[in-house]
Symmetry: C2
Subunit: 175 residues, 2 copies
């Protein structure tokens, strides 16, 4: 199962039990040509994918604004930063400054391990990459600076547990 | 200028001065056929508009989760509720229960007046419509239960001022 599918299942579960309202944003598309056939619905005949200017997921959890991007990698030892766009990082920075909870969910496919990496350590690794020092984050660095999300029964990917830890740790840091 | 355009300008302004991070969600589209021409970008050849399952706008403002739908009406005396989908109301209810700030922005085109109508009074009028009592909300009812957003210099539609009042009033109600 893809990480995207797992998150969708978790989000549906959270919504159904009244725990959180978090959705994936629709893929941004630039619509160029639409035809309106008689007696049937409008058909988009020409459109193009646009680069997303924000992250893929956002919503609300017990009063907290939640905002994240989810990425999978086949790489066993590190997460390549080419997976993330610069405007997404800029967006996460703005969210962090507005006291939102923002992070990456990273899945190492071959290890079958998922981590929540908060914006603050991520920003450090991102800046390091900008300086051409290292274009990726090692698994060890993610383990040290992020939160492991162990698979469980329901939902399989209970990422809000890691969000709880992040909120607790950030509230201590920010006070 | 459309209400959508005015909100976009306000949101760009809020982002630029570091006041809030609020975006319009992309139009949800179901993509059926994509062609990948050589040496040029992917073209979506067949797609359909999907009914949105949430509201159009969301984001974060000083730690608060903000979620709203914006609607214009040419009607001079009332706002017809056929403009709002049932799943959008359900979504707003879930957001409210998660302690998010959720509301409608309603513009009366001919009066050139914009109001913020919070979820709680809106829910009352929505339920009244479900009971076939009245399928719209009168301007007077909106004036009494919502917040008028006077046009000003920059941004022209400073709707966060009304959000501030709503946050203040809700914090008093909820305590």
């Amino acid at each position: 199962m893809t990480l995207e599918k797992e998150i969708e299942i978790s989000n549906d579960y959270y919504l159904s039990i009244g725990k959180a309202v978090i959705h994936k944003k629709p893929t941004p598309v630039q619509i160029v040509d639409v035809s309106y056939p008689k007696r049937s619905k409008a058909v988009i005949k020409e459109a193009y994918f646009r680069t997303p200017s924000t992250t893929d997921y956002n919503g609300v959890y017990n009063g907290y604004y939640i905002d994240f991007e989810a990425k999978e990698t086949k790489n066993k030892t590190s997460f390549p930063l080419k997976n993330i766009h610069e405007h997404q990082v800029k967006h996460m920075k703005s969210v962090y400054e507005q006291k939102g909870i923002t992070f990456l969910l990273i899945r190492f496919k071959t290890l079958d391990e998922v981590y929540l990496l908060p914006y603050v350590p991520f920003e450090y690794f991102w800046k390091r990459a900008q300086q051409d020092i290292k274009k990726s984050i090692t698994v060890e660095e993610i383990r040290k600076n992020g939160y492991h999300i162990p698979y469980q029964y329901q939902p399989r990917l209970n990422y809000l547990k890691a969000v709880d830890k992040l909120i607790l740790d950030e509230s201590e840091d920010r006070v």
